[in-house]
Every structure is written in structure tokens, then in C-alpha cells.
Symmetry: C2
Subunit: 216 residues, 2 copies
């Protein structure tokens, strides 16, 4: 995530700090499904009043990252199997398209960075670090998709990741895998070969693989 240019350097607003903090926590699976959150608690934790905390929470609820009961209480959602299947299908649809759009722009420097990230994934996997695995895995995908130059699609994609965050925690915390995802190697190989059908299949497989066993 290099920030090459940093023109304005404005201080982020309070609700943005809370929003971003919560968002990465959720996306990286640092919060278990069903975990309850309170506005005053969040406000105290981020050292702001209830107002910014409320805005951040409302926004995350709107994005499906948090669920709100009829009385207004918020918690991380516990997804049904049907919803997990839907979200996995959305990941497949959007990420295959993003990868396909990134392929013509994927030069050697990008592939090198992907390979570096992939070895980092092996490290966190051997350390049994579920959160680190999710974070590094998403970084692999985002690095590739950034080359697609499709910000609207990438935003949609990240929204889906966000919704799956707590569920992925439950998944990867449960199964104790010992190897890096094999489909990442297929993705890199397809990128090197300029093989678009192979890339689409590899991305689709990588996305579907993990979620299938959870929803199944």
C-alpha cells in the first residue's frame, strides 16, 4: 500500500478514524461472529464521543459489516449458509473480472510482489496465525486487483470481504492448514503466461475453495 503522493495531508475526521479502525478489524477477522459492540464503549476506546462512534457503526451496518437488532444493538453478523454461498459467488464474479482486467497490465514487478506476498503467507500459515493469514491473503488479492484500474469494482469487492471477515475468522481459526494456498501459484503462473482462461479459473478456484467447506 505505497502512498506515492500525499498532497493535502489533512487530519482525518474522528468518525473516519473509528470507521477505519473497526473496518480493518472486521475485515481481518479480529472480531468473532456475534460479538456485541456498544457506542459508548467504542467512543471510549477511540477517545471520541458517541457521535462519531455512531456514524462509523451506522456506516458499517449499511455496508453489511455489522448487523443491527431491532432495538439498535449492533454486533458482528453470524451469516447463514445461504448468505455465505451468495457472498462467495459474488467474490467469484467480481474477482474473476478484476483479475481479467489486471492481466494486460501485469508486468514483472507486479508478479514479483505477488510472489513476495505469497511467501509471507507461507510464514503466517506455519505460525498458525489466522488473522495474519486473512490479512496477507487479502493483500495478495488487492495487489493484483489494483492493477485493474477499476476502483468501483474493487470497492464492491472489499465490501464483500468485509462482510465475510468474521466468518473467515471462524473458518480459518477452525481448520489448521499447514500449506500456502496452492491456487495462488496457479494465479501467478497464469499471469506469467498471459493465460486469461487459466487466470479466471485459478481465481475462481481460489475464491471458492475456502468458503465451500464452511457453507457445505
Amino acid at each position: 500500500m505505497q502512498a506515492v503522493s500525499r498532497p493535502p495531508e489533512t487530519t482525518p475526521s474522528a468518525h473516519d478514524r473509528v470507521y477505519r479502525g473497526l473496518r480493518t478489524r472486521i475485515m481481518h477477522g479480529q472480531i468473532a461472529p456475534g460479538q456485541a459492540l456498544t457506542l459508548r464503549g467504542l467512543g471510549k476506546e477511540f477517545e471520541v464521543s458517541m457521535t462519531p462512534a455512531r456514524e462509523a457503526v451506522q456506516r458499517l451496518v449499511a455496508e453489511g459489516a455489522l448487523s443491527m437488532s431491532s432495538s439498535g444493538r449492533v454486533s458482528t453478523p453470524e451469516l447463514s449458509n445461504e448468505r455465505i454461498e451468495e457472498l462467495a459467488a459474488l467474490r467469484a464474479l467480481i474477482e474473476v473480472e478484476l483479475a481479467s482486467r489486471a492481466l494486460p497490465r501485469a508486468h514483472m514487478a507486479l508478479i514479483d510482489r505477488l510472489q513476495t506476498i505469497n511467501t509471507a503467507i507461507s510464514d503466517v500459515v506455519s505460525n498458525r496465525d489466522a488473522v495474519g493469514y486473512i490479512r496477507t491473503n487479502l493483500e495478495f488479492h488487492r495487489t493484483l486487483y489494483l492493477r485493474a484500474q477499476a476502483p468501483a469494482m474493487l470497492a464492491m469487492c472489499e465490501t464483500v470481504w468485509l462482510q465475510l471477515g468474521p466468518t473467515m475468522r471462524a473458518l480459518y481459526g477452525r481448520l489448521r492448514r499447514t500449506e500456502a494456498p496452492q491456487y495462488h501459484r496457479l494465479i501467478i503462473a497464469a499471469l506469467k503466461a498471459g493465460d486469461e482462461p487459466g487466470l479466471r479459473l485459478a481465481v475462481r478456484s481460489d475464491v471458492t475453495q475456502g468458503l465451500r467447506m464452511l457453507a457445505g
Copy 2:
């Protein structure tokens, strides 16, 4: 939009009223691109204080339905051609999938309703009613996609519609069409025949057709 069961009948909160009111306005193209909005103005219009107005606006900004300047001023976005192309591609991806999932569940009653809506589209088109056209057209699509039983996908789809709302207003207000969309007939025919490839093609064509001339 029939509400078959209405169990709790709770009074919607103030920020929800503002949110929904603004949302349908934007999605139906009742606000031109670049139109500015103020919190106090919205609060006065919906007879609430600034707090609920702010929450509604923030949520719409998060969904991409409104854009916020660095100083916090909000307005409907003026989309670049690249972004329009992206959103059209997203519509194509998601709506083709939704239609495909709806196909096995599409019985005669659904097809009848779609035909009824389609004749309504002819009416509003002959009346040169751009807003009515957008609303009825979206109702056609939503009626079909509801049968897919895929709420997460439908929500994503509506988010894309929302982002395209002001732009569609500019588009359909400009070109003065005199006929109902021909691809809707193809969609209905493919539904009747159970022709999945034909349905996918028809939906993709219908979605892409309108936006192409705007972004081109």
C-alpha cells in the same frame, strides 16, 4: 413490493425516513448530477434535526450515492466515463447472475407481472416521463431478481443502481426515446422458453445498451 407479512410494525427511525426518502429520489433520477445538499436544508425538509440528516447523508456517501468534498459538502456525483463503464460492467455481471438464478423459479404468475410492468413502461415512455421510466424499468428488473432468492446480490445490485441514478436521469432526459426497451421482450421470451443462455444474453444486452451511448 408486496409486504405479505408485517409482524412488528415498528415506527421507522428518523434517520431511516430521511435515508429512504433521499435514496429513492436519487435512484429514480429525481436529482440532477452535481446538485448540492445541506444538512440543515434536509433536516428542515424532513422535519428532523441535523443529526438524523447527517446519518442518512453519511450512509449514502458510503454507498457511493452522494459524493463529499474535502470540506464535507455533499452533492450528487458527476461520474466519469470510466466509472460509468465500470458500473455498467458490474450491473452486467450481477444482474446476469441474478436472472440466471431466478430462471428455475420463474413461473407464469411472475412472467405475467413482468409483462404488466412492461406495458406500464410503454406508457411512461410515451409520456416523456424520464423519472417514471427509470422507476418502472428498475421495478421490472427487481421483480425478476427477487425470485433469485439472493438478498446479498440484490443489495449489491441496488447499490449500483443508486450510484447510476443521477447519471441515468441525465441520460434518459436527453435522449427522447419513443419505444419500450426491446430487450425486455427478449427477457420474457427467454423466461418462457427456459432458455438460460438466451436469458443471460438478453439481460446483458438490456443492461449494457443504455449506458453504452452515455459513456461512449
